[in-house]
Point group: C2
């Protein structure tokens, strides 16, 4: 089977250069072996892709910016995001990768590509690092700020499919809460727990506290997109704060401290890459009718090629088909 | 002025031993110089406090457990938590310190001690570490899971008073959100932003993203208690995860890595204590009619004596009186 992968030329802080370089890296390194790549946007100089017969160009405008509201994208029919999602809907693409405006991309995915049957709320599913080098899946990492208890069943099915895609067998599902006791938290999470307990297709393990987020008691962690996004950015902020403080302690320290840091440099570097959730490439808007991959806004060419890799892998394995029950 | 400080003998994982030892440490180290200490609970062997004339004993039962629901504490009139809050209400205490059940303590504080005039929602205010060794204040860190936009004005006044208590001049107030743009987030935070913009007594600086939580753009960060508590535990979980991974990298590393770690031991240790928010002692339930200090559930004697110290300092400066506007 040939995978048809779309790539948004625009969107992201370093586009279009990072997009072009990321695509070239992916092409040269065999990531797109059994795939056709569709670059969506007005690329003036197409000669950089000479010699790659599996690259195609779809004309589209750079009209979705960081300021575009989710509701506006529906009217921007010539934008790269609109065209990519339209091609997901018609089956002209199996996957679409964009580093553009998250809200606009979700809106285009939901209303232009459409939702999977039985899914009310597509969500952002993200792989977090964790103990034993095993990823754990956070759903929703930022798509839906306000949710109802029933949406947690959608999130659970999306997260389980993604966990299996990440080679986690028999994924266990938890709900993020401020305590593990039944009466803790908001009425939304308490009602969601009651719903999941009754579902035979969910291995529901109960409430999980945020201090256990890197632990081994669950594989898929469910929360609303407001809390999920805040959690994600708190991890990022804390990790950078600790590493910065460590650096500043070393700088202020004596000669022995500096020698110590030098000797530990490799360990510190490997730690930094370990806690960087971007190592897994793009994140998915799951529940959309097609593989919609969000690359980080500040993606460099390596991040883009990682996102192309996961898009290609998801298409090959037909990740999306595993969500519909 | 003599400060009347109450101390819950029960509550907390290591009580009553840690409570007794913490009180003795505080007494011996002059923390309770201008204070009368009221130990609330049935202490059989009172001889350990012999020679300390400013120690008094209030008989009370150990009937509030971790399983006690917030609504039940109102009926446990002989419990230490009930009696402490009752003494706050009558003015027989200026401050009450407990390491017990958070929900029960908040409920007793709100309904037995009572709320300050003009405050609808008391909240848990907590000092987080941050860049430049300056604390920043998180409100609500876990008291109110479900809040309305108007409650953010209560949280702001509580946070500002606490920030000033922590020697922060002219505290700037931000609202935690998943983006800094006006249209981001839940309707609650958007409405709260509109309310705070209009208040002349609040230096409102806008939305703050969680990755900036250790940054310098705000002094007081407002959020609902569900998100706040999750944020707090995420910081804790991330910090421990990073330090554990670092330790495990060192253990697996070669001789040079191990020597490096040894040379850096002091720096790593100082980092650990820096990111530990428990360094600031207890946290306050602000908005309650009296100084209600929550010590961490796993408090050891040092943490208890820190909590007694902040209770004593808050009483001396009459922190609570600075909230009512």
């Amino acid at each position: 089977m040939i995978n048809k992968i779309g790539l948004d030329l625009y969107g992201g802080d370093n586009a279009p250069e990072s997009t072009i370089q990321g695509a070239i890296f992916a092409l040269k390194n065999g990531i797109l072996k059994n795939s056709e790549l569709y670059i969506i946007g007005n690329l003036e100089d197409k000669t950089v892709f000479q010699g790659h017969e599996n690259v195609h160009f779809i004309e589209a405008e750079n009209t979705v910016t960081n300021e575009t509201k989710p509701t506006q994208v529906i009217r921007l029919k010539n934008s790269s995001i609109y065209k990519g999602c339209e091609m997901l809907r018609t089956g002209d693409l199996d996957a679409f990768v964009s580093a553009g405006n998250t809200g606009a991309l979700l809106s285009a995915g939901t209303f232009i590509a459409g939702r999977l049957e039985g899914i009310k709320r597509p969500a952002l599913a993200l792989a977090l690092p964790g103990k034993n080098n095993k990823p754990r899946i956070l759903v929703d990492a930022g798509a839906n700020s306000e949710v109802k208890a029933e949406h947690f069943y959608d999130f659970a099915r999306e997260g389980i499919a993604y966990a299996k895609f990440m080679d986690i067998k028999n994924p266990r599902v938890g709900i993020l809460n401020i305590g593990t006791e039944e009466e803790k938290g908001t009425s939304t999470v308490r009602d969601a727990a009651e719903i999941l307990k009754e579902k035979e297709d969910i291995d529901y393990v109960g409430f999980v506290e945020a201090r256990e987020i890197f632990g081994n008691n669950f594989d898929v962690l469910l929360t609303d997109g407001f809390t999920g996004n805040n959690i994600l950015k708190t991890i990022e902020g804390t990790a950078y704060y600790i590493l910065d403080e460590l650096r500043s302690t070393v700088n202020k320290g004596g000669l022995l401290t500096k020698i110590g840091a030098l000797l530990m440099k490799k360990s510190l570097y490997s730690l930094r890459s370990k806690i960087d959730y971007r190592q897994y490439g793009g994140t998915f808007f799951l529940g959309v009718n097609g593989h919609l991959v969000k690359a980080h806004g500040s993606s460099d060419s390596e991040a883009i090629s990682n996102a192309i890799y996961v898009a290609q892998k998801a298409s090959s394995e037909n990740l999306v088909s595993k969500i519909t029950l």
